[in-house]
């Protein structure tokens, strides 16, 4: 039988299948952070189990860290304790840690690819749902709970049922001002927030192929927002060019062997999927969300749906009430108070370049607070080397230090109750960016233009 990319990698990682349909599934790389690992380390301790192989784990502090003055002790006592706990656990078990202040520190899904830890054909897990990001390299990567974190620590394996397979094909060329973020927001709006539950998605087609690795990461990152277990894209020359020479990537002869293997990782002609969806790139416009789940997205110059199926009406109206919007309304002209550019979805150098390029010589609106949080120390350093920090500062944007920041507001970067924030992150859930905060998800380009105009605008009018 013809195999898909997913089949090839899954099959290569089955240790054994047990009666009833579950697989003992082998994990190549395990990424951990301060929030979802402490209880797992405790579980090892309580059960008196050793760590299976510390060399297959990489740790970083990202979720709750401050984005200013990272050289100083963390002010928030609980956050400091959690980060200290990660440090002491890593020391005790011999796990490599990119802690605060380390030149490789950053958001776990930014540093994995950046350091070449993420590679085609791998299985990668992390106690974080956006682990799907790594699928951009042709890996099977997905988020797990803390009990599973402990299982991987103890055995390098998980007990899993094989998900169903979906292929989403996007053909053609994206229009001007339409980015990878718009592409995935469009797909999620089409499928709905639970539309891919139970599936592992492969993205294919010429529009996907022509994305940069950063763009592919943005697409795969948000797979979870339509319920998918993960998303992946077959590796190609783009992938190899990105990876070659990165610190953890194979070197020399081993690189050549790796390439030979990675070139076998693609979906064969005629291989079957449980679901197939096709979209045209030309149909996609710059997107924005208006509600409280990522499936509630529209083209920025479109209007909020006036009618929804009766069974969904109560949840839909609850959502609009929270956002302070009405059915059938346009978002154009709505005043925005905050712009957040960051998160594992859009905090890479390409995103920062795009923002800097647009705001160069312009100035943010007076009533807008514009925060840029780079995905990693490396991204921050590169932005400074390229002089982006100056361009951004001149436009009134504050370039912070790396972390998850206002994406989930575990640290002090919170959007106040009732305020509107155009955010390049991945979730617009109620209170996600702070209690009462109202989030509108969009691309870095939309975010940059919004910051300058101080309100939602039809961005196509602002591109030269």
């Amino acid at each position: 039988m013809k195999k898909t990319l997913f089949d090839k990698i899954w099959d290569a990682h089955v240790v054994r299948s047990i009666p009833g349909g579950l697989d003992v599934f082998y994990i190549d790389r395990h990424l951990i952070h301060e929030v979802t690992s402490p209880q797992a380390f405790d579980e090892l301790e309580a059960r008196n189990l050793p760590l299976y192989n510390p060399a297959q784990i990489v740790a970083t502090a990202d979720h709750n860290v401050p984005t200013r003055n990272q050289h100083l002790p963390i002010q928030d006592q609980l956050s400091r304790f959690q980060v200290d706990k990660l440090t002491s656990n890593c020391e005790k078990y011999g796990v490599e840690l990119f802690g605060l202040g380390h030149p490789n520190q950053g958001i776990v899904h930014v540093i994995g690819p950046e350091l070449g830890i993420t590679q085609p054909g791998m299985t990668i897990v992390c106690g974080d749902s956006h682990t799907s990001t790594h699928g951009a390299f042709g890996a099977i990567a997905f988020g797990i709970g803390t009990s599973q974190v402990a299982q991987v620590m103890a055995t390098q394996c998980l007990l899993l049922s094989r998900p169903r397979k979906m292929r989403i094909t996007v053909e053609g060329e994206l229009r001007k001002g339409v980015t990878a973020k718009d592409l995935i927001l469009y797909v999620i709006a089409k499928l709905g927030t639970g539309g891919a539950t139970g599936y592992f998605v492969e993205y294919a087609g010429s529009a996907i192929r022509s994305l940069s690795m950063e763009g592919r990461m943005t697409v795969c990152n948000m797979s979870i927002e339509m319920g998918a277990r993960g998303g992946m894209i077959a590796p190609d020359e783009n992938t190899y060019t990105y990876l070659e020479g990165r610190p953890h990537a194979p070197q020399g002869e081993r690189w050549e062997q790796a390439l030979a293997y990675w070139n076998t990782l693609y979906t064969e002609e005629g291989a079957e999927f449980d679901a197939e969806l096709h979209f045209e790139a030309a149909d996609i416009a710059p997107m924005i969300t208006y509600g409280t789940n990522p499936g509630m997205g529209i083209a920025i110059n479109d209007t909020i749906p006036a009618s929804v199926p009766a069974s969904e009406a109560a949840s839909f109206d609850k959502s609009l009430q929270y956002m302070g919007f009405a059915r059938g309304e346009s978002l154009l002209g709505k005043e925005v108070n905050y712009v957040f550019i960051g998160s594992c979805t859009n905090s890479r150098i390409e995103d920062l370049r795009q923002v800097a390029e647009y705001v160069k010589g312009k100035r943010k609106a007076g009533h807008v607070e514009a925060i840029i949080v780079p995905g990693s120390k490396q991204v921050e350093l590169q932005a400074r080397e390229e002089g982006l920090d100056k361009l951004l500062a001149d436009a009134g944007f504050e370039l912070r230090e790396p972390g998850c920041s206002a994406c989930l507001a575990m640290n002090e970067d919170k959007i106040p109750a009732g305020a509107y924030c155009v955010s390049t992150s991945n979730r617009n859930f109620e209170g996600r960016q702070g209690p009462g905060s109202r989030t509108l998800l969009a691309s870095p380009l939309v975010a940059a233009i919004t910051a300058v105009e101080g309100k939602i605008v039809d961005i196509t009018q602002y591109l030269n």
């Binding site: 240790v15 599973q148 299982q151 055995t155 007990l159 927030t193 639970g194 539950t197 575990m410």
Partner: protein
């Protein structure tokens, strides 16, 4: 993990779709390093106002509904992988969540903590909401060995699906980690025969 067999209890209805794990337990409460105590902040921002006062219109603050079954709209548990969501629901005294479907990671997390995610059809779910609304004392008997949801008032029996291995784990109180540790030999054998290693 606590064993699960048969429970007979009331239900707390939350007819809201796409309840995400940020609502179940907001991120700012994830700074604890133990598994205990999350129940206190279950549905924190729906349950309490900004001054910490209970919101009287929220179902968990009502004396009308009591029980160990949480009855929730479709796509329950979407969003973040935080297992804290399952811990918080369990810690608040629930043993079963009934919905017409669950987000994958939440389902797994629930099963790993002795919390049964019980999936019914949309049609059945709407009927259960109506029953509980009409009579808040409506009893639910969840019989895991028989894979059956029994409604004593009407005598109706609704069967549900669960992975046979997961069912056994819940009934016996076993964790996956016990099983995986027992597979060590197979795991090392696998490692020695891989075509490509990382």
């Amino acid at each position: 993990m606590e064993k699960f067999e048969i429970i007979r209890t009331g239900a707390v209805p939350m007819p809201i779709e796409n309840i995400d794990t940020d609502q179940i337990i907001p991120a700012r409460f994830l700074k604890a390093t133990s598994r205990e105590g999350f129940g206190e902040n279950l549905f924190r921002d729906w349950r309490y106002d900004s001054d910490g006062e209970p919101k009287t219109d929220f179902v968990l603050n009502s004396s009308r509904y009591k029980g160990q079954v949480l009855l929730a709209g479709k796509n329950f548990g979407c969003g973040s992988s935080r297992e804290h969501a399952a811990w918080a629901i369990y810690d608040a005294g629930f043993r079963v969540v009934i919905s017409s479907y669950f987000a994958d990671i939440f389902r797994g997390n629930a099963l790993n903590n002795g919390l049964l995610p019980l999936q019914v059809t949309d049609e059945v779910l709407q009927r259960l909401f109506a029953l509980v609304e009409a009579d808040p004392q409506t009893e639910f008997e969840v019989n895991l060995p028989e894979q059956e949801l029994y409604l004593p008032a009407s005598g109706e029996r609704i069967s549900f699906e669960i992975d046979p291995y997961k069912k056994e784990c819940l009934i016996k109180g076993y964790d996956d980690i016990d099983f995986l540790v027992s597979q060590k030999e197979a795991i090392t054998a696998y490692e020695s025969t891989r075509a490509w290693t990382y």
